[in-house]
Symmetry: C2
DNA sequence: CTGTAGTTGACCACTTTGGTCAACAGCTTG
DNA sequence: CAAGCTGTTGACCAAAGTGGTCAACTACAG
């Protein structure tokens, strides 16, 4: 079913994928409107159902597609020998931003797909990928050198602060980007800014 | 119109308010369903429109009500002479949690109401309250003693880290609460946890 | 018994839903 | 030119859902 879809003009593929992911992540599975998707993608109603037999089929396809793209990008960008926790997170944010340039709503889509009550459509898919993700986390943390931290700091809590900072920063950035000038986000400038935060936190929590 | 509503059984008032706020904050103004609200509140369709002439009337009422409740709670709980930025934020989180016990979705409601594209229903209300909020922020930061920070740390960035940490923490807490045991959130235990994070950050960024 | 206040849910006209399908355009073959 | 093939359209469908109304019900007071 999907081979035909992949023979399409790539730009059209992207338009369809992005429109559908946006609609699903904005409204959840049930409330997402296929009418709205085709309108935003600039295609006809019939075409969508020509390539995907169902709303559910489309959803499942998107879920798999997003998951695969993300894991591939991770595989390509991560350095699994990295010992510095902060640099590890730096890489993750980089992956995120790079993906957002092509698929602006992929992360939101995956987030709501993995958490929300939408999961009637993805019972076992869910669990399979949950396992996959936890394996990646394990792999990420395996080599981290915790002896770099100052004595007495609670590393678990620092990790939380770090994650919330990264998430908070990227959320505001993407929000800002979507509002004003879409697509032309300056990845380099963002990474410079991210580095400032990482430096701040490093100096706060690493031994000097 | 609203006097009649306030004569209702208080528990019923709360049921209606919470159901409506949840629906609005979950789906936005246009997509929110009055049918779903009355179902969740356990009242009949007619009753809702007996107390509020309109969907829009209901929305406006909720917006004003939430705003007023929040400001009142702030007025009661904040200490405007506080000079410690971290303690200031501690108070804010406390207000937030206390309100969430009675109105679990009030913050989400206000957040989407103030940001989202929903604002067709609230053009001037919006601006009035934006001004109000910025006044409160100004009042908050007026007395803060920035000399407490270590030399060389970028205070603006620290403030961001602090805010993202508070938001991240309360988000996970409320998520966790909603999933497992609703309503019986242990405010004291949460504040103990918050204090741990605040202590961590204080030791990181304040002069010793 | 009457009046009043609170409450119901069947009902309305209207929109939107996911999904179908006959028809069409553009292209390569013979 | 015709025949076939692929990609594409949008009018159309039954079904569900929309915001909102209203005659009728209950329950209690005078």
């Amino acid at each position: 079913m999907t081979e035909k879809f992949f023979n399409l003009d790539e730009e059209k593929q992207a338009r369809i994928i992005n429109a559908a992911m946006k609609e699903f992540s904005d409204h959840g599975y049930a409330q997402a409107s296929t009418n709205e998707m085709v309108k935003q993608a600039g295609i006809s109603k019939g075409l969508l159902f020509h390539y995907f037999k169902n709303k559910q089929g489309l959803y499942l396809f998107l879920y798999d597609y997003a998951m695969q793209k993300m894991l591939a990008e991770m595989e390509a960008s991560m350095d699994w020998a990295e010992r510095d926790l902060f640099m590890m997170y730096r890489r993750i944010v980089e992956v995120k931003f790079r993906l957002c340039r092509v698929y602006p709503d992929m992360f939101n889509f995956l987030k709501v797909a993995n958490t929300a009550d939408t999961n009637e459509a993805t019972p076992e898919l869910q669990r399979r990928n949950e396992q996959l993700i936890s394996k990646w986390y394990e792999r990420m943390y395996r080599n981290v050198d915790y002896s770099l931290f100052k004595e007495g700091v609670d590393v678990q809590r620092v990790i939380h602060v770090l994650r919330w900072t990264m998430e908070g920063f990227s959320y505001t950035q993407l929000e800002h980007m979507k509002k004003l000038s879409l697509e032309e986000l300056d990845l380099d400038a963002m990474m410079v800014e991210i580095d400032q935060y990482l430096e701040l936190l490093k100096q706060a929590f690493y031994r000097s």
